[in-house]
């Protein structure tokens, strides 16, 4: 028997992390939203983490969403401790945020060797970056980048399924090592 898998959802401000977890969670989401004191293009921001749970094909998953602002980078580190997968969300209509997403990604992956997937949100918009273009931008294999609408639970489940496909081979080898 395996316990629940811990997955982390990260990305810059406004990428859709909290929305993604709210759309997917089967339990009431624990969030730590406060009103921002500066103009960040929305009326709430996460200061500690979001937490939700769900089952995917019978597998219990725990989702931890990070704050998006750089001053909370210590939370990226804390939340990624022991995580088995990372969902890195970027808003497909905000390419100006891509360098920031790269910064978060490098911060996390330099400290935690965690399998990841990049989710390009806002695919419902008419003018938005395609996942393939984002993969080229980040120089990632196409299998590591998916497009989604963070408000859509089906999209969210598809994103997590793709991540778990990337996690599984490593999960098994880690179990053997232990």
């Amino acid at each position: 028997m395996r316990g629940p898998l811990k997955l982390v959802v990260s990305g810059p401000v406004g990428a859709g992390k909290t929305t993604f977890i709210r759309a997917l969670s089967e339990t009431a989401v624990i969030d730590t939203d406060v009103a921002p004191s500066e103009d960040i293009g929305k009326d709430s921001t996460t200061v500690a983490f979001d937490y939700g749970t769900l089952h995917l094909d019978g597998l219990p998953l725990h989702l931890y969403g990070t704050p998006g602002q750089d001053r909370f980078d210590f939370m990226w580190d804390i939340l990624c401790e022991g995580a088995l997968g990372l969902v890195m969300l970027v808003a497909g209509d905000r390419p100006q945020d891509f360098p920031r997403a790269r910064g978060i990604f490098e911060f996390v992956t330099s400290r935690h060797a965690v399998p990841f997937i990049v989710g390009v949100t806002r695919q419902d918009l008419p003018r938005v970056w395609e996942p393939e273009d984002v993969a080229d931008y980040f120089r990632l294999p196409y299998a590591h980048v998916v497009g989604l609408n963070a408000t859509d639970p089906m999209d969210g489940a598809r994103t997590l399924t793709r991540l778990l496909e990337l996690v599984e081979p490593q999960g098994h080898s880690e179990e053997r090592a232990v």
Binding site: I30, E38, V47, A48, P67, Q69, R71, F72, F74
Partner: protein, 124 residues
């Protein structure tokens, strides 16, 4: 008094009074609920920006913990170690952080810090 003073003046004078009344403190700071520093008097070697962000995180987490166990409205949260303690106070839309070394007069600290937080809350 506060009606004639700007927010910044109230914050600065409140922190200065706290420092003067409790000279052993290692630092005091006021941050917004989303972790931006507004006023601070921290000893050298402590990154005020980082403490401000952590104060917001601590308060945000403290609120959720309080909600979960039915604590009512959050007033303060503390972190204790062998060499000192940090107290975080809800202060209106902001948070007051008080960094204390081990062995301080805690009764006096709690009284002074709560008064300071109440004072800060009047302008935030």
């Amino acid at each position: 008094m506060t009606s004639t003073m700007s927010k910044q003046e109230v914050l600065s004078s409140t922190l200065a009074a706290l420092r003067a009344n409790l000279p052993e403190l290692k630092g005091v700071l006021v941050a917004t609920a989303d972790g931006l520093p507004m006023a601070q008097s921290m000893n050298a070697g402590t990154d005020a920006n980082r403490v401000a962000a952590m104060a917001a995180t601590a308060l945000g987490l403290g609120k959720r913990i309080g909600d979960t166990v039915g604590n009512g409205v959050l007033t303060e949260m503390s972190v204790s170690g062998t060499d000192g303690q940090v107290f975080f106070y809800a202060a209106g839309r902001g948070v007051l952080a008080v960094v204390a070394p081990a062995g301080m007069n805690l009764g006096l600290l709690l009284m002074e810090a709560r008064d300071a937080a109440a004072n800060i809350a009047t302008v935030l």
